[in-house]
């Protein structure tokens, strides 16, 4: 095998130039870079290579805009229109949602609006807490029961109950749908590689086109309200489940698969009785991601009529009530933790011993009976004592102005120090990098990317990467795209530099890992708005604040996947290494990290995806990137403009993903991991 060049990221050609070995591959790289630099430095006369000529621009905005209009107003299947179909889907989703919402929040009503009469009250807060605790106990014993009870008690005590139940209702509908659809698609992708090839770009698009870009069409198609919010949540939260499902099924050891074949499993049995159960651990990571991402959408969902905690966060921060915003934000986190831990516990739980034959109804279903009893008793008691039905307002606690005061105190005492720090980073790192990227000729970048694709993955990859990057330039998004790459690129590097070491450190320390998990779950579900506004107070609007928000959000997958990869390394191999006299450092670098590389790279991929998905938020602190373009398009209700910018974001993601993927595949081959 030829000595391959240590190429990893296409964006770091300087490492290539410094490589000591001059193999054939390196000569190719050097030549490409020399040509690129020459064009960049001395190609000033070739104006078209720097600014894409307007006369040749592709009017994609107009095309997409008018085809969207056609889809919304005219598309028809003969008997019914496309809009009828989507409205029907909306009605199907709406039905379970209404039931859950009635149970948790509004009660069962007769009539609509303010003239509606309540027939049955919703579950009282005591009943909900008791049922949640019972579920916790059923799933994971006393410890989990206490955790779940504490989570829900927090919601009641901090006065978040009403909003939290609205949010919970939409999550309880969105998450199972996301998990089931995601799993089915994952299985299909595992079975039919061709299907997977078609599906992967769609998943990438779903995960990376900013939600704001397709919000307007979704509202038209699915109606304004919680259902549209559920659909938007599904589009955003499902892809990781599908990806992880396909990866997990492929990761099932061949012995297990052979066993299944030997005992004569049918295809269906093989899938549901052998593969899915043995991939359960990894699949649960997918479930975790669906829950986390669904809760992450709570803010945007609240903008289109879902209400709930997201609305409280937005409203609190608009009046700069940091404490109230944080309380509502933490309530989202608390919901996430409760849901996630219960689902994890169910996955781990071994099947119950069957109840002895001939036992009565109560002995066979103790939990169901107990829950029903609590509901009835609480409802009856609630009629007599209102405090049982709704948590008494007098007992609400609040942090009040505490957090605003803390931020104020930091602001008054440390602003100058922070400002100096910010200016140093801004002037020495961010601005030069931004200038560098902004000055590159688009034609050169397209060719260089295509060349990298060719070296790493052959002609097909070169074509894909070249065409996608050309399209970004041809649709007039180049300048904003470079700002996007600059902001996300720096943030991803910082997130990886923090995330991978933390993942390594915490992978084997059970206790630390548990705390780290709490932190990353918090980072992933706490609406970034909550910490974005204090960050604006301390660092002003601009790129630095945006970077903080992106890093805080994107660091989670870097940590999670690193730790997961390390934890999955076969202990026998580590034992073997130890027996051969490896030092702990050698075990880490030569065995564990190498074997965990696929997971770590998946983590890096997800870090990039997460960073790009934060563009919507960063546009709220005044960046001038593609996210801002999407946001402006939303405010002008210009679907074409929004989708073109959204697609440019997705193209950047796909280019990064494919190049890293190809590079990873090569290095894996070299390491003999395949």
């Amino acid at each position: 095998m030829a000595t391959p060049a240590p190429q990893t990221l296409a964006g770091k050609p300087d490492r290539e130039a410094a490589a000591p070995v001059m193999s054939a591959a390196n000569i190719g790289w050097t030549a490409a870079i020399v040509v690129f630099v020459a064009l960049w430095q001395f190609g000033g006369a070739l104006k078209w290579a720097f600014d894409y000529p307007k006369a040749y621009a592709i009017p994609a905005q107009r095309w997409i805009g008018s085809s969207m209009k056609w889809l919304l107003n005219e598309a028809s299947f003969g008997l019914f229109t496309f809009t009828d179909l989507t409205r029907f889907v909306a009605a199907v989703i709406d039905f379970p949602y209404r039931i859950v919402l009635s149970l948790l929040s509004t009660g069962f009503l007769s009539g609509q609006g303010s003239s509606a009469v309540q027939i049955l009250p919703p579950l009282s807060w005591i009943a909900v807490i008791a049922i949640a605790t019972l579920i916790g106990f059923h799933a994971g014993g006393r410890k989990l029961a206490i955790l779940v009870a504490a989570c829900f008690a927090f919601l009641a005590a901090f006065g978040q109950w009403t909003s939290a139940m609205v949010t919970l209702a939409s999550i309880l509908v969105a998450v199972p749908l996301g998990v089931i659809l995601g799993l089915l698609l994952g299985i299909a992708a595992y079975r039919w590689p061709r299907f997977e090839r078609a599906l992967t770009p769609i998943l990438d698009l779903m995960q990376t086109i900013p939600v704001f870009a397709y919000l307007v069409p979704i509202l038209f198609l699915f109606g304004f309200g919680p259902t549209a919010a559920v659909v938007a949540t599904l589009i955003y939260a499902m892809p990781p489940m599908t990806r992880i499902a396909a990866l997990a099924l492929r990761g099932v050891p061949s012995e297990i698969r052979d066993l299944g074949k030997m005992i004569g499993c049918t295809r269906r049995q093989m899938t549901w009785r052998v593969l899915v159960p043995s991939a359960k651990d990894s699949l649960m990571v997918g479930v975790n991601q669906v829950i986390m991402l669904s809760l992450n959408m709570v803010i945007i969902a609240s903008m289109i009529g879902a209400g709930g905690l997201g609305f409280d966060v937005l409203a609190a921060l608009r009046r700069l009530d940091i404490g109230a915003g944080l309380e509502a934000g933490i309530a989202i986190v608390v919901l996430a933790v409760a849901l996630d831990r219960v689902s994890q516990a169910y996955a781990r739980r071994t099947a119950d011993a069957p109840a002895p034959a001939g036992a009565g109804l109560i002995a066979r279903n103790p939990y169901t009976v107990a829950s029903l009893a609590i509901v009835v008793v609480a409802a009856l008691a609630g009629l007599a004592v209102p405090a049982v039905q709704t948590y008494p307002e007098a007992l609400h606690v609040s942090t009040g102005p505490f957090f605003s005061d803390i931020v104020g105190w930091i602001n008054v005492n440390f602003f100058d120090t922070l400002e100096a720090l910010k200016n140093a980073v801004l002037l020495n790192v961010l601005v030069p990098f931004k200038r560098l990227l902004g000055g590159l000729p688009w034609a050169g970048v397209v060719v260089l990317l295509a060349f990298a694709g060719w070296r790493l993955g052959g002609a097909r990859l070169a074509l894909l990467v070249g065409v996608l990057s050309f399209l970004i330039a041809a649709t007039g998004q180049w300048e904003k795209a470079t700002i996007t790459v600059y902001l996300c690129g720096i943030s991803v590097i910082v997130a990886a530099l923090i995330g991978i070491p933390v993942g390594i450190l915490s992978a084997e320390r059970e206790r630390l890992w548990r705390w780290v998990q709490v932190v990353i779950d918090t980072l992933q579900t706490l609406p970034s708005f909550v910490y974005l506004m204090p960050a604006v107070m301390l660092f002003r609007v601009g790129d630095f604040t945006a970077m903080i928000a992106v890093v805080a959000y994107a660091v989670a997958p870097a940590i999670r996947y690193t730790a997961l990869g390390l934890q999955k390394v076969d202990p026998q191999l580590i034992e073997a290494g130890r027996a051969m006299g490896c030092t702990p450092a050698q075990i880490l670098t030569k065995i564990k990290l190498k074997l965990a590389l696929p997971e770590i790279l998946l983590g890096l991929n997800q870090t990039i995806m997460f960073a790009l998905s934060m563009l919507v938020i960063t546009s709220l602190v005044g960046t001038r990137d593609l996210g801002q373009e999407v946001y402006i398009a939303l405010t002008k209700a210009d679907t074409g403009r929004g989708l073109v910018a959204g697609l440019a974001v997705a193209f950047i993601a796909i280019i990064a993903d494919r190049l890293i993927g190809a590079g990873a595949a090569r290095s894996r081959k070299r390491l003999g991991l395949v």
């Binding site: 303010s114 509202l219 609240s302 409203a315 506004m533 604006v536 005044g622 002008k636």
Partner: protein, 321 residues
């Protein structure tokens, strides 16, 4: 189908149509479906909407509040999923309104009576560092501009403008009036006020875009810059104003705050349509209510109930049949 038959059919159809047209205003059947009003995320709008909602309830309508984004709501208003939006600001919502009215599916219910004021604003303590404020001419003084500068913009002053989506022509204004200022755009108004709060706590220099009715002018002491007053010509005729070669050499316009909604409201709930169109309130009333909620910590519903009690004569006029 023979020609005769076709004649009969069309005659029947024509009859049916004319009958429907003749009957509907006479009967004026009001729907019992709930009227959906949208809630956004700022206090003033919550108050306006809840006022309207309570008034409609008094008139016997069924009301539902739906939380929706200020701009994304138009999709719902056009399809009839949502019905009434009580505050669309001329200054920030013009494009969205124009685009939506053009579809013919939404309708302007007229002005709320409140006027949006938007302008450059500075805290009171800046008068010491820059004597002569709020007159805009002193901003041309480099020393004065420098008082508003930061490391990134020095020696130019830093002006924190609204989100780009708000428009406002501040870049052009700076150019036209020759102000040594750099315009930085906040991405959202929450960020705008976060910066103000931060600067105010430290008594640090800041110049930014503030709008009213809002709680900020009540909470923070400060003034609006007095630019040459806005006229229509200033924005359309370069010759107007101190700079003969440029537009926008004046202040920002005052704007109406409009009530808009689904075009079907008029037919479905004619009485409600009348009440919504009649609804008006002025800046001072609204400013006082916003202050009660955001600064005194009262609930929106309490403040609304207070207003309803004090102004019964006014609102009962709006819902009179």
């Amino acid at each position: 189908m023979s020609f005769r038959n076709r004649m009969t059919y069309s005659a029947i159809a024509a009859l049916a149509i004319s009958g429907a047209v003749a009957l509907s205003p006479a009967k004026a059947q009001e729907s019992t479906d709930p009227i959906k009003l949208t809630l956004h995320d700022w206090t003033g709008q919550l108050i306006t909407t809840e006022l309207m909602g309570e008034i409609l309830k008094k008139a016997g309508y069924s009301i539902e509040y739906v939380q929706a984004d200020y701009l994304a709501q138009f999709a719902g208003l056009e399809s009839g999923d949502l019905h009434v939006a009580m505050e669309m600001w001329e200054t920030t919502g013009r494009d969205a309104m124009d685009a939506s009215f053009a579809t013919g599916k939404t309708e302007n219910f007229g002005p709320t009576g409140m006027k949006a004021k938007e302008e450059w604003w500075f805290p009171e303590y800046m008068k010491e560092k820059c004597p002569g404020l709020p007159n805009w001419e002193v901003l041309k003084d480099e020393k004065c501009a420098e008082a508003f500068s930061t490391a990134e913009t020095a020696p130019k002053g830093r002006y924190l403008g609204g989100p780009v989506t708000w428009g406002g022509f501040d870049d052009e204004r700076v150019e036209a009036l020759g102000l040594p200022f750099e315009v930085i755009h906040a991405g959202t108004d929450a960020a705008l006020f976060a910066e103000l709060e931060s600067a105010y706590q430290r008594q640090a220099p800041i110049m930014l875009w503030i709008y009213a009715p809002h709680w900020a002018p009540a909470k923070y002491k400060g003034e609006w810059i007095e630019f040459p007053e806005y006229t229509k010509e200033c924005y359309t005729d370069a010759a107007w104003g101190s700079n003969p070669d440029a537009l926008y050499d004046c202040g920002k316009p005052f704007g109406e705050i409009w009530k808009v909604g689904w075009a079907g409201v008029k037919d479905k709930w004619p009485g409600a349509h009348k009440a919504i169109t009649a609804f008006t309130i002025d800046n001072d009333e609204m400013g006082a209510m916003i202050t009660k909620v955001d600064l005194d910590g009262k609930k929106v519903s309490e403040v609304v109930a207070e207003w309803m009690g004090a102004n019964e004569a006014r609102w009962s006029e709006w819902i009179k049949k």
